[in-house]
C-alpha cells in the first residue's frame, strides 16, 4: 500500500489531482482510492485530499494519517499548515516552490524531495496559478509510482473547467521535466 | 330583480348542456345539509369529465367520503387522498407521467383553503413556479371546517372560529375573533404568473362554468388556479337554505371580488359590482360575525375598500 496526502488551497484542484492520479494508477492496472477531506472548502482555504494505491484491492475507506508521500501544490501553505504530520520515516515531499532546497521547510522524516516551480510555470501556461497537473508531473518524476504516459491518458479523459486539455498536458509534461529531485542524506540516529 | 332574470337564462343554458352528463360522484356523500362544497364538487367534476385524476387533500372534500371509507369510494374517477401538504406535487408526478406516455389526462385538485394557503402552500407554489399542467381548485370556506372550524390564514378578520373564539379575555381585552386579515391567496397565485387564475362563487354559476372551461384549457398548457368562495353553513353559522344568499351577498358587498387573470390579458373583473351594498349586509347574514364591535365592522369595511382599490389597480395596470 502506498499512501499520498495532497495539500492545497480550495480552488487549486488538489481534490481533482487526487482523482486524476487515481485514474492514472488505474490505467496501469493498479487499485487506487481517493478521498477528499470534508469541510467547507472555499476558495483559498487550506484543503487536503488522500490517495491510496496498491497492487490488490483496497478496502479501507478512511483518511490517511501516515502517508508515504506529501504533494504540496501551494508554495505558501507550509507556513500555515503542518503538512508533515504523520509522514512515514523515509518519506517523500513533492513541493511547489521556486526556492532552492536549502530554503525549503522539511521534517526529519523526509528522505526524498521533488521541487518544482509550479506557480511560475503555471502563470506562463494558464496565466493563472493552477498547479495541480504540474504537480502530478512532479510526483511522477520524483517517485516513479506512476508513469507520465498513464497520467497523460488520465488527463485526456478528464473534464477541465478552467483550461483546455492541451494546456494541461503541457503543464503535466513541464512539471515532469522541470522538477529537481534531491535525496536527503542523514546519519542514522543511533 | 336583475339577478333572477339573469339566472333564469343562464340556468337553462347550463342545464341543457351538461344536465345529462354523469355526476361523477356517488349519489350519497356525507357533506353537511346545504353544503356549498358538495355543490361545487359535483358541478366541477361533471364538467371536467371522466378522463381525470382527482386529488382531494384532507378536509371537507374527502371528509364527506369522496375517497371513501373501508373499501368504498365516493367518486367514479380515480381519486386519492394526498397529504394535506403535497397535493400539487403528487398531481404533478401523475400528470408528468401521463404526458410522458402520451395520454391526455386532466390532473385536478379540489383542495381546501387550509391545505392550500397554509401547510400545503409550499408544494402549491412550487408546482405553480414549475408551471405543472394542473387544474388546482381551492374551495375557500375560510377555515378548517372539516376538523371543527379552526382558523386558517384565509379566515377573515373578526370571524369567530374554534381557535379564535369570542370571550371576555383578560385585562379588559376581550377576545373578539380573528385579529388578522385573510391572506389573499388568488393574488399570490397571480404573482406566480400562472396560465390562468380566477376567483369564483357558486352564486354566479355561469361565471363559474366559464372559468372552469378556461381553466381546463389552461391546464393543458400549464398551471391553472381557481379560487372558489364556498360559504359553510355549519362553520359560519347560518341556516342551510341560505347558502346561495350568503354567497351572493359576499359578491354584492365586494367582500369577494370575481375576476380572472391570464398572462396575456392581465387581470380583469368578470362580474364588477358598481354599486356595492354595505358590508354589514353580508356580515349580519351569519353567526360567526355576530359579536363584532362597530370598530371591527368599520375595519372590515375599510379593508373591502382597500382590497377593491388594490385589485382595480392591478386590473388597470395589467390590462393596459
Amino acid at each position: 500500500m502506498y499512501e499520498v496526502r495532497f495539500h492545497g488551497r480550495g480552488g487549486q484542484g488538489a481534490v481533482t489531482a487526487a482523482a486524476m492520479l487515481a485514474a492514472a494508477l488505474l490505467e496501469e492496472g493498479k487499485f487506487a482510492v481517493s478521498i477528499p477531506s470534508f469541510g467547507f472548502e472555499r476558495r483559498g482555504a487550506p484543503v487536503v485530499s488522500f490517495l491510496r494505491c496498491s497492487d490488490r484491492e483496497i478496502r479501507q475507506l478512511t483518511n490517511i494519517y501516515t502517508p508515504d508521500c506529501l504533494i504540496c501544490v501551494d508554495p505558501t501553505l507550509a507556513r500555515t499548515v503542518d503538512i508533515f504530520g504523520g509522514l512515514k520515516p523515509g518519506g517523500t515531499l513533492v513541493q511547489a516552490t521556486n526556492k532552492p532546497l536549502a530554503e525549503v521547510a522539511l521534517s526529519p522524516n523526509v528522505a526524498t524531495v521533488g521541487l518544482c516551480d509550479a506557480i511560475g510555470i503555471a502563470l506562463q501556461i494558464f496565466s493563472k496559478p493552477i498547479t495541480n497537473t504540474l504537480m502530478l508531473g512532479a510526483f511522477a518524476r520524483t517517485t516513479g509510482v506512476v508513469s507520465l504516459d498513464a497520467l497523460k491518458r488520465s488527463l485526456e479523459d478528464s473534464d477541465f473547467r478552467d483550461a483546455g486539455l492541451k494546456q494541461n498536458l503541457l503543464a503535466l509534461e513541464r512539471g515532469y521535466n522541470e522538477t529537481t529531485v534531491h535525496t536527503i542524506e542523514r546519519r542514522a540516529a543511533a | 330583480c336583475p339577478h333572477e332574470a339573469l339566472t333564469y337564462v343562464t340556468t337553462s343554458r347550463i342545464y341543457n348542456e351538461v344536465g345529462d352528463w354523469e355526476d361523477l360522484f356517488a349519489p350519497g356523500l356525507a357533506g353537511c345539509q346545504g353544503c356549498n362544497t358538495e355543490l361545487l364538487m359535483r358541478h366541477t367534476l361533471r364538467r371536467v369529465g371522466p378522463e381525470t385524476v382527482l386529488a382531494t387533500p384532507p378536509g371537507c372534500v374527502p371528509g364527506m367520503g369522496s375517497v371513501g371509507f373501508n373499501g368504498t369510494t365516493g367518486t367514479k374517477v380515480p381519486v386519492f387522498h394526498p397529504l394535506l401538504t403535497n397535493t400539487a406535487a403528487m398531481l404533478a408526478g401523475i400528470k408528468r407521467q401521463y404526458k410522458r406516455v402520451g395520454r391526455d389526462v386532466t390532473a385536478l385538485a379540489i383542495a381546501g383553503d387550509g391545505g392550500a394557503s397554509d401547510v400545503g402552500f409550499q408544494s402549491l407554489s412550487g408546482a405553480a413556479e414549475r408551471n405543472e399542467q394542473i387544474l388546482f381548485m381551492v374551495v375557500d370556506n375560510e377555515g378548517y371546517m372539516n376538523t371543527g372550524m379552526q382558523r386558517s390564514s384565509c379566515t377573515p378578520y373578526g370571524a369567530w372560529t374554534s381557535t379564535t373564539p369570542v370571550g371576555q379575555g383578560s385585562g379588559g381585552m376581550p377576545s373578539q375573533g380573528k385579529t388578522q386579515d385573510a391572506k389573499n391567496l388568488p393574488l399570490i397565485m397571480v404573482n406566480h404568473r400562472c396560465e390562468y387564475v380566477a376567483t369564483a362563487s357558486t352564486a354566479y354559476m355561469e361565471d363559474l362554468y366559464e372559468k372552469l372551461d378556461k381553466a381546463i384549457q389552461a391546464s393543458k398548457r400549464g398551471f391553472a388556479y381557481l379560487h372558489v368562495y364556498s360559504p359553510c353553513t355549519t362553520g359560519w353559522r347560518f341556516p342551510t337554505d341560505q347558502n346561495m344568499e350568503v354567497a351572493r351577498k359576499a359578491v354584492e358587498t365586494n367582500f369577494v371580488m370575481l375576476w380572472e387573470y391570464t398572462p396575456g390579458d392581465g387581470l380583469q373583473f368578470t362580474r364588477p359590482v358598481d354599486d356595492p351594498l354595505p358590508v354589514t349586509d353580508y356580515l349580519k347574514a351569519m353567526g360567526r360575525f355576530r359579536h363584532l364591535s362597530p370598530d371591527q365592522i368599520s375595519h372590515i369595511q375599510s379593508k373591502v375598500v382597500e382590497n377593491l382599490a388594490f385589485v382595480k389597480q392591478m386590473a388597470h395596470r395589467q390590462g393596459a
Binding site: - | 339566472t7 337553462s12 354523469e22 349519489p27 359535483r42
Partner: protein, 99 residues
C-alpha cells in the same frame, strides 16, 4: 358535446391483485343520505317552469327532470331547503317529514 360515460370501477379480483397491498376502494359507496332529512321539498307542478335553478343549486344533485316539472330523488335529498329558497317561481315548499 356528447354525454360523458365513465369507466366502470376497477375490479381487483379480476386483475389478481391481493387484497392486502395498497388500501384502495373499488366499489361506489352505497350511502343514501335521504334519511338525514327533517324537511322535504314539494313541487307545485303548475308553478314549475323547468328553469333548472333548483338543479343548479342542489348540493346533492338530487333534482330529476320529469315531463313537465322538476322533482327530487328523496333517497339522496338531505332537505337543506336551498331549492325552495332559490326557486324564482316560488314553486317549492319545504314541509316537515312527519306529515
Amino acid at each position: 358535446m356528447s354525454r360523458h360515460e365513465s369507466y366502470p370501477l376497477f375490479n381487483l379480483k379480476q386483475a389478481n391483485v391481493p387484497d392486502d397491498l395498497c388500501p384502495v376502494a373499488t366499489e361506489v359507496s352505497p350511502m343514501l343520505p335521504g334519511d338525514w332529512r327533517s324537511m322535504r321539498p314539494v313541487v307545485d307542478r303548475d308553478k314549475c317552469v323547468k328553469c333548472a335553478v333548483c338543479w343548479l343549486y342542489c348540493p346533492v344533485q338530487c333534482v330529476e327532470e320529469k315531463p313537465a316539472w322538476f322533482d327530487f330523488n328523496l333517497k339522496t335529498c338531505k332537505g337543506c331547503g336551498i331549492c325552495a329558497n332559490e326557486c324564482p317561481q316560488r314553486a317549492i315548499t319545504m314541509i316537515p317529514e312527519a306529515t
